[in-house]
Amino acid sequence: MVPPVSAPERSRSQPYLMVRDLTVRFDTEDGVVRAVNGVSFSVDRGRTLCIVGESGSGKSVTGLAVLGLHNPRRTRLGGQILVGGRDVAGLDEEQIRVLRGRSMAMIFQDPLSALHPYYTVGRQVMEAYRVHHPSAGRKQARAQAVAMLGRVGIPRPEQRIDRYPHEFSGGMRQRVMIAMALVNNPDLLIADEPTTALDVTVQAQILDLLAELQAEFNTAIVLVTHDLGVVSQVAHDVLVMYGGRTVEQGSVEQVLRHPRHPYTWGLLASVPSLHGDPDAELVPVAGSPPSMIDLPAGCAFHPRCGYADATGGRSTTEIPELLPAGAPGHVVACHLSEAERERLYRRDVARTEVPG
């Protein structure tokens, strides 16, 4: 894995994926779900952005929206999604389908429900290939599929290719999904909790595999996860979402080592660790994640924030802007002043943090 590069280096050329002010809304019978509210980010080829958040933070919807996998009848999409310089936000289903697979692909959390149970894995990988290589013959597609299955670490791919998804274990199915996603060599890969359903030893294998493939194909990866451990291993950049908004964004070093938002502090403090005092109480974030239909006014995090009172009432009325904090490239949406946060961080958080 490439060590994280410092932020300024990124702006040399146009990033492969640029999302500007993305908003996603769903109409449901309980009301309008504001799943994503003005999220912006960019990912270069060869780099990994992790979108972190709890359930109901809008992180998965963000990933789906980039691929145009939302249901167009129920969803209202706003903002710009530039993939390789082309805005895909307004494209219709047919145009997006051409891009999907070729330029961008997706890996889901549950490979069993994403693979068709009645077709062999080989047929599914071949189909993914032939969609974008219509001139390719059966033989060529099959060779390609075998090669890809072998590349993602499936032993004896020439035999396993004729097996059905249920004959594979969870880790192997996830490899099949990755093979399907990467068979057309897409420039952008979106992975939605790709390892959440897997055992730790298999998770480690899959994360290693993604890193290897990224190095080989120079893919831009957006990895959606709730697991900060995974983030610390694979991310170059991190975007922390809460209530459909970005609350903190920066390089992995900045966000995990020098977090500047009380929510990120809370997330980090609540993760149980293999180091430090095992008898110490964990420090959870109080309360529950908000409902996306009825977001709290002002800063969505204020009902759970220990420092909301220190903002002179602004946290309940104004939505905080995403402003630069500390090092370049690091942005935070919080009403507390930079100095105040620095003081609180040193007082309350820094000493509980584990030395790296």
Partner: protein, 335 residues
Amino acid sequence: MSLSNADDIALSEISATGPQPPLPKAGLVGRSPGQQAWARLRRDRVATVSGAVLILFVVVALAAPLIQRLYGVGPQQQFQDALDGLGMPLGYAGGITGGHWFGLEPGLGRDIFIRMVYGLRTSLVIAVAAAVITTLIGVAAGVLAGYLGGWVGAVIGWVTDFALAMPFLVVALALVPTVTLRFYGPRQAEPAVFRAGLLIVVFAVFGWTGAARLVRGQIVSLREREFVEAARASGVGLGHMLFRQLLPNTWAPILVSFSLAVPSYVTGEAVLSFLGIGIVDPTPDFGAMIYRSIDYLQTDPTYVFFPGVTIFLLVLAFNLFGDSLRDALDPKSSR
């Protein structure tokens, strides 16, 4: 890579926090899943209209004697003087007048409207009774087969398959006259109640299998849920398990299957009566009326029109309502 998968992810992300986790002021008593379904049903236009039509039909059927008194004509009353020499009703459109709203029957000259009111009554009583009985048998068989499994489940499964394998019409055609003959002599007129009861029994013998299979499937999938294990770990008995834990979770499909069973028995009863093994003539009935009207299809089309349209509306309303009910009770949105 299907779209539905993506949809599920999006939906699960939205619903993961629940519709109202902060538990707002809405009162301290929560809305049960049933109340939610009711609210959804009331917002559904199709459900309201079809429901209103159904209620109208039921009220008419229940109030038949009252309608007879207000209308001033009985179902067996004959108006021979309003027929011409060939037995056809005088006047236009099958003899529709202010006194006979839907006209008169050719031949006997009975009033079609009041016979339909009573026919509705016969039809609904038989259909609802048959639906209630089949649902009860089906639920009992399905719950036992689903929860106990093992040899009980296997035996119930065989019986279900056996019942499904019997050709309904053939057995009904063979059975009904034989049984009738067994109880009443060839020259004896059997009472209408006996005929109706016999029809209900025939429907019950054949109809319970659908509900049984449905409920069995539901129970088998519920049995895997952790709340069932939790109840077992608390030491609950079989009765509590079936009636307090499992059955309340199957009401939705049971209600839907019930509401779709009624119209199928309405048509079934009409078919049997049409074939002459259901309700027979002096008793007012849709099937029997349509059977008689076939002879006059050319000469007096209104005779077949009114019973035909009414039975069509009745069945349509039931089916539409059943579909709306299914949508309202959809477990996915009431999880």
